[in-house]
Amino acid sequence: MKLILSSSNIMQAGRQSVIRQPVTQKSNVELINSLRSNFLASQQIETALANGTDTNGKSAASHPPSWTLQTEDGLYIPAIDFSQPGLSEERDQYDITVKLFYLPGIPVSRRCAHTREAIDLVLKELHVKSIDLLIVSFPGILFDADDDSDEEDNEMSNGEPDDFDSMVQTWQVLESLHDQGVIAQLGVAEFGSERLARFLPHTKVKPSVDQINLKDCCVVPKHLILYAKQEQIQLLTHNDCHDILPVGTTRELLGPTEKSGAGILASSSEANDGIQGDVEPQWVVKYTAVVKDRGVVENKGYFASADVGTCVKDRS
């Protein structure tokens, strides 16, 4: 069974994304907090409505909860009404950036479908036909400003290296979306100069952005700066966490309400208070719509997808 988690527009609930923390600390706090608070808000509305109509208040205990929505795409947590307007002004006023996180341990073979799913959700949410920039984050790649030589060590230490061929394969999917006019520009995250140099010859549509996370903003390897300049690749910054949605965190998020979860998953293998089985996060997508010449972030949010049940797809 597929679950589609969403945060709705987190700019209207900014508390979740503003955390007093050292500037450069990578974080998935924004994602987790915004999902949690969106679940909570939806539950509260539901409870308020139920209290108005149903005196025994039992309706909230149904499964899946009534604030979610089962469709043929999967279970929306919470339910989304895509008929709500997405952006307040015309499309050309915005820069829409989407960052897609492929998660560790998920077979590359699923990426084509995942990419399409994630992009479609964003297009539907914002009521637009295209996005300006898609940045993809491959699992297992860590940029280290102090050591730009190669990142293979990091990949190995992660256990499941995202091999070069699979990146190239994935990129072809993105190129086709680019050709269809759905995505204007493509970007990668955490690529050092050597990886870029190896990667570029295999691309028809070159990445125009390389997004890197910097511990100390002012230490960027010189050869990366020079190479990026030469290849006309813009170096952008981000502070996203590398492993943005671990399995354990997903379990907590969706687990029993007593443990401040959303009450989607069963509390134990015997209980019938939720969905049984393993949970496996598939991908996370972040979207941001910025009013171009005013620098105002009007809409920002996340979708995440997870498979759950006794028949979670085989990893082979």
Binding site: Q12, V23, S37, D81
Partner: protein
């Protein structure tokens, strides 16, 4: 300062009789312009900074520094170059670093020893633009210096430490006590000779019925006499009737006494103006930035010396307020109301007193209960279609009299101009200013000016504070932040910001929770309409259904500047810097820009937590450590010369590698 029209300026007795006409015409011009411009939409964010300089002449042989009254010559020389540049024969930049940037503009200011410089074109929000700000400020300084005498330098101290002393602190020297200022400390020649300025000064004095009065508490050091009686005050002067002021107790014990507009309007400030996308957004920014005024004033504190004495305050603000205070004794509440219309609690130069945004979060408890409003003017504006809030704002500004009236302008009312409106608007020097688009320029939108900051010694700091405020406005709009507190608390904070070392030692009223309440998705449709739609429709007054609000007093608390800037330890207020960081994490910023921004935010973070000093603190320490200082509060000519030299060095080396001023710029490690 606005454009300088020429004409026959009326002296006060006559100007007073025309005040009603100017106000009336000003209101008609405002209404015409408001009708024309209220639907202006989708203006881009453009913004500009204004940097003001003191021109100081150094006499290395005598170890003396003096203010140079060379404004006119310098401006003339600058204008010649600008003409050359426009005709294509001049160079945009001598170094070639400013390709594509228009040469900066220079403007006269009140003091004849001052210059104001603005960028050649306004800045946008493109992050590449933000990178140009500091280098453009440096360029401005270079250009200004290139048009000065070899021994003259433009420095960005708020005030010249020895303005108004007994010695020859100006060059060329003129004796004090002229007909316009009637000051016993400064000559009329201290002011820009353009008829507007002496008339402004003379009419303020004349309207007030005596000289302006600035009493700044002296800083009591170990050898400072108690009580301190300002030794520079001359009680035996009989040139003008106003010379009686000091004999009637104008100079107070334990205070440094000053008596002329030049002591206030001769101060340098750092002012930022933003263009909003429409009137609605402009009104929102005006309200939301207002509570930040006193915070940024304390954070930029740089004014610990007046007339050769260390004083017990750190900022310039109230001194300017007193230097242009044209209120009569009746208006001040010192005499019963007989001839005047009302008591007025604040000077024309003061913290602002109105909120103007049609924002459902604006509670009536936030308004100033003592607000003085000209009800006839408000009525006229509302008859003309203006809403209550905005009509109240302008009817409040229009309680003042116009100070400089040119008789030529009273012949015919031109509704396509804004001169009469601006006459009142631009002599209401509040810490926020809401500016309608100029009627003759289609490409300029509604603007908001943030006016409280003190000028900083280096361009690095000035760029940092300018850009910080720009980023704060973007965070306000993106997160839909709510900084509302009762406006009287902001007035109170403005006073608090004056205290010596207020930045670390004092607490300020600030809102605890700046975030919007989460609106259920089903209700979002209606609020989207009000937040983003342009037309000032009545829909904005219909808030979405929400739980009842708690008592206003629960919404705000006393916080340190560190709490406000860096966030409260208990997690209540998130902090302006984390808000800005969070905004930056939501937009695409390139690596180089982020590095620059990081160094700016770092400066502000560390000023707030005390790691770095304010300019005021640094100057106090500089004086205290000077071998010539005798722990008697006196800042001698020699100390001032050395201070100016140090400041000049600091503008170049910027405290790098332990050079002078590292305590306020970089800290020890870099």
């Amino acid at each position: 300062m606005g454009l300088l029209a020429l004409g026959t300026a009326l002296e006060w007795p006559e100007a007073k009789t025309k005040a009603g006409q100017v106000r009336q015409w000003g209101i008609e011009q405002l209404l015409a312009n408001w009708r024309r411009a209220r639907g202006k939409e989708r203006d881009a964010l453009l913004w500009g900074d204004e940097v003001e300089y003191l021109v100081v002449a150094l006499d290395d042989a005598a170890k003396k520094s003096r203010l140079s009254l060379a404004q006119a010559e310098i401006l003339k020389s600058l204008a010649r170059d600008e003409e050359l540049w426009k005709s294509g024969s001049g160079k945009g930049s001598e170094t070639g670093d400013h390709e594509g940037e228009d040469p900066p503009h220079f403007h006269p200011e009140f003091g004849r020893f001052m210059l104001e410089a603005t960028p050649g074109q306004p800045w946008g929000i493109g992050f590449k633009d933000l990178l140009k700000v500091e280098s453009n400020m440096k360029w401005r300084r270079e250009v200004a210096k290139a048009h000065m005498a070899p021994n003259e330098v433009p420095i960005t101290l708020t005030t010249f430490p020895r303005l108004g002393t007994k010695d020859d602190y100006i060059q060329p020297y003129y004796p004090p006590s002229g007909p316009a200022l009637r000051s016993q400390f400064v000559p009329d020649e201290i002011a820009n000779p353009h008829i507007r300025f002496p008339t402004l000064a003379a009419n303020i004095r004349s309207r007030r019925g005596r000289k302006v009065e600035l009493n700044v508490p002296v800083f009591h050091d170990t050898n400072t006499p108690r009580p301190f009686k300002d030794p520079t005050v001359n009680y035996d002067l009989y040139n003008w009737p106003e010379d009686d002021d000091v004999r009637n107790g104008a100079a107070k014990d334990d205070h440094v006494y000053m008596d002329a507009m030049a002591f206030g309007m001769g101060s340098c400030c750092l002012q930022i103006t933003f263009q909003a996308k429409n009137m609605t957004e402009g009104r929102r920014l005006y309200d939301q930035l207002s509570p930040l005024g006193p915070i940024l004033l304390a954070l930029t504190a740089a004014t610990p010396i007046y007339k050769g004495f260390l004083v017990d305050t750190d900022v310039r603000w109230n001194q300017i307020g007193n230097a242009v205070d044209d209120r009569t004794r009746e208006e001040l509440g010192e005499a019963p109301i007989k001839n005047d219309r009302w008591r007025i609690p604040k000077s024309r130069y003061a913290s602002n007193s109105t909120y103007i945004s049609q924002d459902p979060r604006l509670r009536k408890e936030y308004f100033d209960p003592d607000l003085v409003v000209d009800e006839d003017i408000k009525k006229r504006l509302m008859e003309g279609g203006m809403d209550d809030l905005l009509a109240t704002h302008f009817a409040h500004l229009f309680i003042r009299d116009p100070l400089v009236i040119f008789s030529e302008d009273l012949e015919e009312l031109d509704l396509n101009k804004s001169d009469h409106f601006e006459n009142l608007q631009s002599t209401n020097w509040q810490h926020m200013r809401f500016k309608p688009p100029p009627p003759d320029k289609d490409d300029i939108g509604w603007r908001v000016e943030f006016r409280s900051m003190e000028i900083q010694i280096t361009d690095f700091e000035n760029a940092a504070f300018s850009i910080f405020i720009v980023l704060v406005t973007r965070a306000i709009l993106s997160f839909d932040l709510n900084f509302y507190i009762p406006i009287q608390r902001t007035t109170e904070n403005m006073e608090t910001a004056h205290a010596r070392n207020a930045v670390l030692d004092r607490k300020f009223w600030f809102r605890k929770d700046p975030f919007p309440r989460r609106v259920p998705r089903s209700a979002q449709q209606s609020t989207n309409g009000s937040t983003f739609s342009s037309t000032a429709s009545s829909a904005v007054n219909t808030p979405p259904p929400s739980p009842p609000l708690g008592p206003v007093e629960m919404e705000f608390d006393l916080m340190t500047i560190d709490d406000i800037v860096n966030g409260c330890a208990d997690g209540s207020f998130p902090g302006l810097i984390p808000l800005v960081e969070s905004y930056l994490n939501s937009v695409n910023v390139d690596v180089e820009t982020r590095c620059f921004l990081a160094s700016y935010l770092d400066l502000i973070r560390k000023r707030a937590d005390g790691t770095l000093w304010t300019g005021a603190r640094w100057m106090r320490e500089f004086v205290a450590k000077h071998p010539n200082y005798k722990q008697d509060s006196v800042v001698s000519e020699e100390i001032t010369y050395d201070l100016v030299k140090a400041v000049e060095e600091m503008t170049v080396k910027e405290g790098k590698k332990g050079s002078v001023g590292w305590e306020l710029l970089r800290g020890k490690t870099v």
